[in-house]
Symmetry: C2
Subunit: 181 residues, 2 copies
């Protein structure tokens, strides 16, 4: 069940617009975001996996003689994407897969309805707030003497990063809540 986030990223992009592997590579290369490699060695095999799983289907384009295949998301693929988006947000997601949560957020639009989006953000905020609280607790308890200075600073910076993330989620959630009411 646990698929790589690259596969979902491809699926999400293909939902927005059917395109070729090359197009997707360019999207990753030009979009300054999201840490997906534009190397053919990652994207083409991933597309192949999606195709085998029948989450996308390939249509050979013959507009030009140049070889090129566009991928489109099948209905099964769309269901899989929505299921991924609708998954409950867990504490582990917040700790280990924060990037994936942001990716899920990015694809909410057009794939799930507003109540679902709001629920996603509420869970996100809840778990993130809980984790930030834990980190603050840990920060208070531990003895700064035992750590190196830069080590301690790096730790505090980590906590601040999560705090910033939390502020963003709160802000976004409020926006969503307003529009809904």
């Amino acid at each position: 069940m646990k698929r790589s986030s690259l596969e979902y990223a491809l699926l999400g992009l293909l939902r927005q617009k059917p395109q070729s592997g090359y197009d997707l590579r360019k999207a990753f290369a030009s979009t300054p975001l999201r840490h997906f490699s534009d190397s053919p060695g990652s994207i083409y095999p991933a597309l192949r996996r999606l195709q085998v799983r029948q989450w996308v289907s390939a249509a050979a384009e013959n507009g030009s003689r140049r070889r090129r295949q566009e991928f489109i998301v099948t209905s099964a693929g769309a269901r899989a994407l929505v299921a991924w988006l609708r998954q409950p947000v867990t504490r582990d997601d917040v700790i280990w897969r924060l990037d994936e949560l942001v990716l899920r957020f990015a694809f909410l639009d057009g794939n799930v309805d507003r109540p679902d989006s709001l629920r996603f953000l509420e869970e996100f905020e809840q778990d993130l707030a809980g984790y930030v609280h834990e980190l603050r607790q840990f920060e208070k308890d531990f003895d700064p003497q035992h750590r190196s200075t830069t080590g301690y600073m790096a730790f505090k910076h980590g906590v601040d990063s999560y705090q910033n993330e939390l502020q963003w989620v709160r802000h976004v959630r409020k926006e969503f809540a307003e529009v809904l009411s």
Copy 2:
């Protein structure tokens, strides 16, 4: 040459204090930070690799009859760690390996001198500032209509994250510069 950051994380921790694989696992499990798994399947093989490369040496402990081996960093290992820390910071590091840069920062203490630390921070700030500028540029240029709303928000959030990171680096660099002068 490109070693996994897990290996350097282990090396850095072992430099701070010789300890066993189990101790390191506990450190990863209890420290709420840095996304290293505490699974034996990652740590023990990594230690083995370090040992084969002679960056650490294992000393069997026989204080108790319980089996346990402590690892200590060899001089070659220490040199490798320092070489890793002293590497120039590149744009690619900033984009693809930000976490590794923070990890390097955490281990500066006790391994490189202040001028080297300062140089690290200067390069970090430079490259990060350049990248943030690029992102802002990209943000201005592209057409918000073509993207989904949440997609656009996620992008802006990404930029903000980098901006926050930059602020932190600037702040830390100033602290370091003051102490040095």
